[in-house]
């Protein structure tokens, strides 16, 4: 056991006195006031006692208690009361109470200038305790014979007592991160270099308008960007959007600005069981389902301004051609092996049953409604053939076990080639950490042959005569979609896909897709031995989560791509927020309140405010013409700081750190706001000649920073970016100039340049508006509530589609309305604290309506989730 004390600390008096008094054996060590004995506390806390168990006590009173207790003296209620009073009232007993109180009062009462004339009994008590030998010895130890002066150094380090700290009185000028960077002082050389760059002006860059088809060019950086192909049978949600298409879009927009030769392709992944399933549910053919949802996807992405060079699909002839070609090549080179698999077959439906088409009794827990892949009751994974009393989900006939021959891709045979390639690719390319880790763990666990064929109809047919009536398994087929989609874009697709010398390939995806892109698909391509372009940079995001509320895909709770538009929030703001919370390096969460806050604080008050002020000054004070700028040391410093932020932005974007780069844009406008605030051009403009000159310089520099910001924002918020340049009437060449090399911040709006009409860029998101949205998308009645006032806010088309599948749409809509109204009624009653019986009656009506609604939507009526009981 060890006690840590510091000299001159009155709390140490207590514990040392207690130690003396109880004669407990314990080492005492003197340390400095700042020494952090208890690691986890943010402020050093002394005295501290290291207990035999290894635990630490950091409260003087608790230490005293402990010492008294081990010596056999326990606290009673009144003792407790004194101790509590001491910590709650006085700081802010011999019995432990006496010792503690005496010690705490020591600094005051032992001072001879302090008279206790009016409180003789206190004086008597104090003297009595002080006369106890143990206490005297403790005083000696703490004060080291220096008297009260010894406590000074301790006292000076204590924070002011809580009640004197006023919340409002705290200085609120800048956040710590900002002041830190400000402190990073800029050297003379850096200033001059920044000023030199600034004076270079715009370069006459050749216009690099896109000309289709885009093909790799000699002497250029040729970059092929793909984003994971979204599965066609669902409406994409925010997670899908940020995970692949939006991230890929920002990067390819950025790449074009950097002057790279970019091709960005994507499309819908359309084959597979899930599509067949959906088609059966909706009474359509798989092709019709694909057509319908391909259009839904297309329109969502175009609303989000995803600038694909080509957005295709996998159900095309090119897909069949290329997939079968790769298949034959793998076959020729001996990378395919045959094996038989036992499967359930429904004789009535004339087909093999995919796992999710079988139901039966769980072999483990005898639950009668277990699915072919998993039991919902015991949660165990099941092999479909193990089910007792299996039934075909479609016709309820008993299926039979048949063995079926299948082809497997021999991954173990390709393993050494794969590892060789991986080592090179991951060390030279920009693979995200999670991508490397997931890949590594797959390889470490050992590769097994992987089945590439399925007994289905909706898929790319296997061309081998022994495997007629089979199709390729989606995981084999889907990534080939990248190639076939490119082939549908240009006949010269092989210039991209069989050209690893000239082409750099970036794959964007969420982390669940990594193994298919880093292990399985590369193995297909390596095994085909046709000089395919393999991925150089694998960029995988983590997951984006949704608020705290229950998320349910099937019930449409959460935000789906097509609903974003109906919120009335501009697409650029959505892009900004999703990129701001991009799950880069770790999971992140979408939250309505946070979105409103970021919009209001970052876009409106920081970025928008700066750009608008800069433009307004030019308009108001200088008749719309950029004034003459004569740079002072202070201005050059700012140029250097802004230049540094720009360089950071470029370095991060080159490494696809999209979220991190965004922070540097916002830093620049923060610097700009500060610059304006300090220089006050609106005051100086009214001053003498030199002050007016100064106002001109500040305004000119500010409006040029606004121009730079528009360029940096362009990949993130294309519309806003263009609007800024339109307002400033900025030459288009500034877009290409500033992002060259490591980043060059040049004066692109020189003196005399006439700007356009300036107007605000962003709108405030009001709390009520956000609350309403949160309710609509996160609430339990959410997707069917159509009571909002604006017609634009009606439920989105595709959600309706999803909701009424197999049901009666009109009836469902009426019921949804009734549920919403009844829900409001119940809430109102609860708010008024109405009679319990009345509420119960209304609640049961509500439940009844919900059940009807579920039936009308063709779903199993689920038990309504119970809210936590409040008291």
């Amino acid at each position: 056991m060890k006690l840590f004390v510091s000299e001159g600390n009155p709390h140490c008096l207590k514990v040392l006195a207690a130690l003396e008094l109880t004669a407990v054996k314990c080492d005492v060590q003197y340390v400095n006031h700042e020494d952090k004995v208890v690691q986890f506390l943010s402020h050093p806390a002394l005295p501290a006692l290291l207990l035999p168990s290894g635990q630490q006590l950091f409260s003087a009173n608790a230490i005293c208690r402990y010492l008294f207790e081990v010596s056999g003296q326990n606290c009673n209620d009144h003792c407790n009361q004194w101790l509590e009073w001491e910590v709650t009232v006085l700081q802010e007993a011999i019995s432990v109470a006496d010792v503690v109180l005496w010690a705490a009062l020591h600094p005051i009462l032992s001072d001879s200038s302090f008279t206790l004339g009016e409180h003789p009994s206190v004086k008597t008590w104090f003297d009595q305790v002080a006369a106890v030998h143990s206490c005297q010895s403790a005083v000696q130890k703490v004060l080291q014979g220096k008297g009260l002066q010894a406590m000074k150094s301790y006292m000076q380090r204590q924070p002011a007592p809580p009640n004197s700290q006023c919340r409002d009185a705290q200085p609120c000028n800048n956040n710590p991160a900002e002041s830190e960077e400000r402190q990073h002082s800029v050297s003379e050389e850096e200033c001059e270099a920044a000023a030199l760059t600034w004076s270079k002006g715009l370069s006459s860059c050749p216009p690099t308008d896109k000309q289709h088809p885009i093909l790799p060019q000699e002497g250029k950086r040729n970059v092929l960007v793909t984003s994971a192909l979204p599965y066609v049978n669902n409406v994409p949600h925010l997670g899908n959007i940020i995970g692949c298409v939006l991230s890929a879009d920002v990067f390819s927009r950025y790449g074009r600005l950097r002057g790279w030769n970019m091709l960005f392709v994507c499309g819908t992944d359309e084959y597979g069981t899930a599509t067949e399933n959906k088609a059966r549910e909706e009474g359509l053919t798989p092709q019709q389902i694909c057509d319908k949802y391909h259009a839904v996807h297309s329109s969502i992405y175009s609303w989000f301004q995803i600038d694909f060079d080509f957005f295709g699909r996998t159900t095309t002839e090119k897909q069949t051609e290329i997939a079968q070609n790769i298949f034959w090549r793998l076959h020729e080179h001996g990378y395919l092996v045959e094996d038989t698999v036992e499967q359930l077959r429904c004789e009535k439906c004339q087909r093999f049953l995919a796992d999710r088409f079988v139901e039966g009794t769980c072999p483990h827990c005898s639950y009668p409604e277990a699915r072919g892949d998993q039991c919902d009751k015991c949660g165990r994974l099941i092999n479909a053939v193990e089910l007792r009393d299996p039934q075909c989900k479609v016709c309820r006939q008993t299926p039979v076990i048949r063995s079926s021959k299948h082809l497997f891709l021999d991954l173990p045979k390709l393993e050494s080639q794969l590892e060789q390639w991986l080592e090179k690719s991951t060390s030279t390319g920009d693979w995200t950490t999670n991508a490397k880790q997931i890949t590594h763990s797959w390889i470490r666990d050992g590769l097994k042959p992987r089945c590439i064929t399925r007994d289905l109809h909706w898929g790319t047919p296997v061309p081998h005569p022994d495997f007629k009536e089979k199709v390729f398994y989606v995981w084999f087929d889907a990534p080939i979609g990248y190639l076939s989609i490119t082939a549908n874009y240009t006949n010269e697709w092989e210039k991209w896909w069989k050209n690893p010398q000239q082409v750099e390939l970036y794959n964007f995806m969420a982390k669940d897709n990594v193994p298919f892109h880093s292990v399985v698909f590369p193995c297909s391509l390596l095994g085909a031995q046709d000089n395919y372009t393999l991925v150089n940079h694998l960029v995988a995001t983590e997951y984006l989560n949704y608020e705290d509320t229950k998320f349910s895909k099937s019930r449409g709770v959460g935000v789906f791509g097509d609903m974003a538009k109906d919120t009335g929030i501009p697409s650029d703001v959505w892009r900004f927020y999703l990129l701001y919370v991009r799950p880069e390096g770790q999971d992140s969460a979408f939250s309505w309140a946070d979105m409103a806050m970021k919009n209001n604080s970052e876009l409106l008050n920081n970025l928008g405010n700066f750009i608008n002020r800069a433009g307004m000054f030019v308009t108001k004070f200088f008749e719309g013409c950029v004034p003459v700028m004569e740079l002072q040391r202070e201005d050059k410093e700012l140029l250097a700081v802004v230049g540094w932020e720009l360089q950071q932005y470029i370095q991060l974007m080159d490494k696809v750190k999209i979220r991190d780069a965004l922070k540097h844009i916002l830093n620049i406008s923060r610097h700009g706001n500060q610059y304006i605030q300090v220089n006050q051009p609106w005051k100086k403009i009214k001053g003498d000649e030199s002050e007016r000159q100064r106002a001109g310089t500040v305004t000119g520099v500010a409006v040029n920073i606004a121009c730079l910001l528009s360029v940096m924002l362009s990949p993130y918020m294309p519309l806003v970016s263009q609007t800024i340049r339109d307002q400033l009437n900025a030459p288009q060449s500034c877009v290409y100039t500033m992002l060259q090399g490591g980043g060059t911040f040049v004066c692109s709006l020189s003196a005399g340049h006439r700007i356009g009409t300036v107007s605000p860029l962003f709108q405030k998101l009001e709390a009520e508006q956000i609350e309403a949205l949160k309710k609509r998308f996160g609430g339990q009645q959410a997707p069917f509530q159509s009571t909002s006032s604006t017609p634009a806010a009606a439920p989105a088309a595709a959600i309706k589609v999803a909701a009424v599948e197999g049901g009666d749409s009109e009836k469902a809509e009426q019921l949804a309305k009734a549920v919403a109204e009844q829900g409001d009624k119940v809430r109102a009653l609860k708010a008024q604290k109405a009679e319990k019986d009345v509420i119960t009656a209304e609640v049961s009506k509500l439940l009844e309506l919900k059940t009807q609604l579920a039936v009308a939507e063709g779903k199993n009526p689920e038990p309504t989730s119970k809210k936590g009981k409040k008291k």
Binding site: L51, F58, D77, R167, Y231, N240, Y546, D548, K553
Partner: protein, 173 residues
């Protein structure tokens, strides 16, 4: 506030007849009128008294050491947590988060009165946290969620959703 805590604590302890409390001073310090002696003043004092009444001394710690640790966290609750500013709350959460990294409960491996009062006291702070912040104080969130699910403990406080749900799941391959 303190009175509601005490009445919730009484219910948790299963004390049959509720005590009558008053308060004193600006800070509304709770006072318990006691038949056997002078009134008891202060949240911790009364809470410890109630625990003894209910013959649940295990909640105050099973050994001298753990009793001291429990008292220390009770003190922490009334000195650091009560009336803390926004800034303080950050450092409190940080400290607790580190402490709870290798402790199941505040005083080690056993649920004690310290957990109860800390839970009551920290509830308003946790309610105000954004999802991201809860993520930041993962150990506190874990402990908090655990405590709020202790049977019969929550009473006057609404449950706080601590864990998040994924917005999307993986593709099926």
């Amino acid at each position: 506030m303190a009175l509601r805590e005490l009445s919730s604590l009484e219910k948790y302890l299963g004390l049959k007849k509720p005590n009558k409390y008053s308060t004193q001073g600006d800070k509304k310090v709770p006072v318990l009128q006691n038949n056997q002696g002078p009134p008891l003043v202060g949240l911790i004092t009364i809470a410890c008294h109630l625990v003894k009444e209910a013959k649940r001394s295990d909640l105050l710690g099973e050994s001298a050491e753990s009793r001291a640790v429990v008292q220390q966290w009770l003190e922490y609750r009334v000195t650091r947590l009560d009336g803390c500013t926004k800034e303080d709350s950050k450092s409190i959460l940080k400290e607790l988060n580190i402490h709870l990294q290798d402790n199941v409960y505040l005083a080690g491996n056993h649920f004690t009165l310290a957990d109860t009062l800390m839970y009551y006291g920290i509830h308003p702070l946790i309610v105000d946290l954004t999802v991201q912040e809860k993520e930041q104080y993962l150990n506190v969130a874990r402990w908090f969620d655990h405590i709020q699910h202790v049977p019969r403990l929550r009473h006057h406080l609404p449950p706080v959703a601590v864990l998040r749900n994924r917005i999307y799941t993986g593709r099926h391959h």
